[in-house]
Assembly symmetry: C2
Homo-oligomer: 405 residues x 2
């Protein structure tokens, strides 16, 4: 097959007209910062990374080995768009334990929850359609909705999550939304949890106005304080909720195995769209995950994650209390991976970051998480990726940077 001459794959010397959406899509500040913060000498609290030492590597390796030994050719072949049946069945059992009964037709496998967001957006959104988000909100969801040229509108949030009571006024102002996007448990970036009362009110609003709620729940399993609240989907009896769940935070993100659950009709639409988007999620990863779950003590593993993340969160809270300059404020999460800090004296996250990196500590400035009206004094800190002693050292470094301003 080798040809004698090698031609250089050409750099672009002509300007090709891109789609209009590209003018709205910028690279993620978080991911660009992650690249700098990857240097080993930097204590980074910037990423949204689970603790790598807690990945159940051996169990996942064993599950893969068994798949290769017992179902190798099938695991290497193309498979159905909806996803591997036994894995979808396990997810149905998992949801039932959490108060939500679903048939396998109501669950599809996605390539990470991010793809769940993309598929729902592709099924629902025309340019100019209103999507309601919390402000601030998960950055890559905002970027995805930008890609569909949605009109992103927001309601505020407080320590109980999205201010659902502001939704009616929003409708009066901008018209009926097509989609409400919400991270109800241990919000990214804020760490807050939507109260039960607001969950009910949100479902009532969505049912009354015929609006789809996209309940993105990557962190729900990671509760280390208090009692679990019913999911938004479990409060709905009209099929107006699509719930996203994932193994990224409980097993390993590198597998890219997640799911979407909702009405059969919507899952059918998501499947049609997924077919032409990536055909299906990797057969091997799906089968290995399904096999793992038949013997691995998932609940015990998640219980351990909760304990460790709870300890790390507490270490961060204690360190902030001990070291941060007066006037600094932060949230007190009941689970998940993040907390949200307001810097004192009008200090701006984006100004502080380069100096923090000089002092070998990193975080994410809060501004990019805002759909509008950014609050530059906010920053996001991740506590899941480092042990308590490094969290304390990191907060000490950060505090010294703040004190020096």
């Amino acid at each position: 097959m080798t040809l004698s001459a090698s031609t250089h794959l050409a750099p672009s010397t002509v300007s090709l007209p891109l789609a209009q959406r590209m003018s709205r899509m910028k690279t993620s500040a978080v991911r660009e910062i992650l690249k700098v913060a990857e240097r080993p000498e930097i204590l980074s609290f910037a990423g949204g990374l689970p603790a790598p030492e807690l990945f159940p590597v051996e169990a996942i390796a064993q599950a893969h080995a068994e798949v290769f030994a017992h179902e190798g050719p099938a695991a290497m072949q193309y498979s159905t768009t909806e996803g591997y049946g036994p894995l979808r069945e396990w997810i149905c059992g998992h949801l039932a334990q959490r108060g939500l009964t679903a048939t396998t037709e109501q669950v599809i496998i996605t390539s990470g929850s991010q793809q769940g967001i993309d598929l729902v957006a592709k099924v629902m959104l025309d340019p100019g359609d209103v999507v309601v988000v919390e402000n601030p909100s998960y950055l890559a969801a905002l970027q995805n909705f930008d890609g569909y040229q949605a009109r992103i509108e927001y309601v505020g949030s407080d320590h109980e999550g999205m201010r659902v009571e502001e939704l009616e006024a929003l409708v009066a102002r901008v018209g009926k939304p097509k989609l409400i996007y919400i991270v109800p448990n241990f919000h990214n970036p804020k760490g807050t949890t939507l109260s039960l009362e607001r969950r009910h009110a949100l479902v009532r609003f969505a049912q009354r106005h015929r609006v789809l709620i996209l309940e993105d729940n990557p962190y729900g399993e990671l509760r280390f304080r208090g009692e679990a609240l019913p999911s938004i989907a479990s409060l709905d009896d009209m099929g107006v909720v699509v719930q996203l769940g994932t193994f990224s935070k409980t097993l390993a993100p590198g597998l890219r195995i997640a799911w979407a659950a909702g009405s059969k009709e919507l899952m059918r639409s998501l499947t049609i769209v997924k077919q032409s988007t990536d055909l299906h999620t990797a057969t091997l990863s799906q089968r290995a995950t399904a096999r793992l779950l038949t013997k691995f003590d998932y609940d015990a593993h998640v219980t351990k994650l909760r304990a460790v993340y709870g300890e790390r969160c507490q270490a961060m809270l204690d360190s902030l209390e001990l070291h941060m300059p007066e006037g600094t404020q932060w949230t007190h999460p009941d689970g998940g991976m993040f907390l949200w800090v307001e810097l004192p004296r009008g200090l701006r996250g984006e100004d502080i970051l380069p100096r923090a990196i000089e002092q070998r500590v990193a975080f994410v400035p809060g501004s990019p998480f805002f759909a509008a009206n950014p609050r530059p004094e906010c920053i996001r800190l991740n506590y899941s990726n480092r042990p308590p002693e490094l969290i304390e050292e990191g907060m000490r470094r950060l505090a010294s940077v703040l004190a020096a301003q």
Copy 2:
């Protein structure tokens, strides 16, 4: 975490307004038929499935085991959107051997080539933009472009592939296209290969009109007859080609590891879009593939695939010659996985299929592959998925169905 009451995930009892694109997106006939044809008693030539007995299961299993043993936590973690560096470097070397020099910045990893199509469409297409395809063309590409509400226009094709000489007339008729989509080697569904002269002419056209060519090359490695032709990308010096390549046909589709190569500028745009579409392709699969390629004799493996597929293609050609009723015509591929049959006497593939399944043989009717003006007398046959004796038995069954009409 268990809640006492379990609520049913509601079926949709309200009608939620979907995006306009959904009115154009239907489920793939090919994939629906695949489900029926999965029954073990049916000799199916419907799918686009590689030969499962040739998957290098042991080598892939070994590569996974080594990744778990030596880089487990890193392989389980989130990773960069562009893809795993060493894998991209291997691909650059692979492309160089095939006459195309690219830097790693010009290559990104995608979740199958289907995602490559989706990312290019997302970067390039606004509703109403003209996409030029061959007629017939790869079905899931047509569905993808439909999802971006493109205006799909076509030029004809013959035994030398797309009739590139018709492009100027098309521009005069419908205006300048944004994208030309082409499978130049061993076309799906036709099995034809674009001639060298037409490759040159296509690049000249794209450069003159500033149009992007999407060169989808899933089958190029599978040539079992004749000499390889230069890729379209290798004939371009202006950055107007994005080339898609994949391991799905040479290693295993269940891994979902493929790549896109093009100008650095376009790869940057694809990366931004991929970030909000699925964050990144599975870390484990990428690292295992990269590790496999350091020691596995990929060239020898592909040489073996070529020999086997050549033999199977020949078995199908011989069987068609021997059994098919007079007036049946078919293509003579130099590689790939498919050939294309025109049934005699106005017989229609869609009418024949149910009778064929009764006789335990399956194929794909040709009509869905046409962007317009379908030719219902055409069918697609896959020869890669069955050994010669079953191919002969299958063609015998099919011929008897045709003879009985």
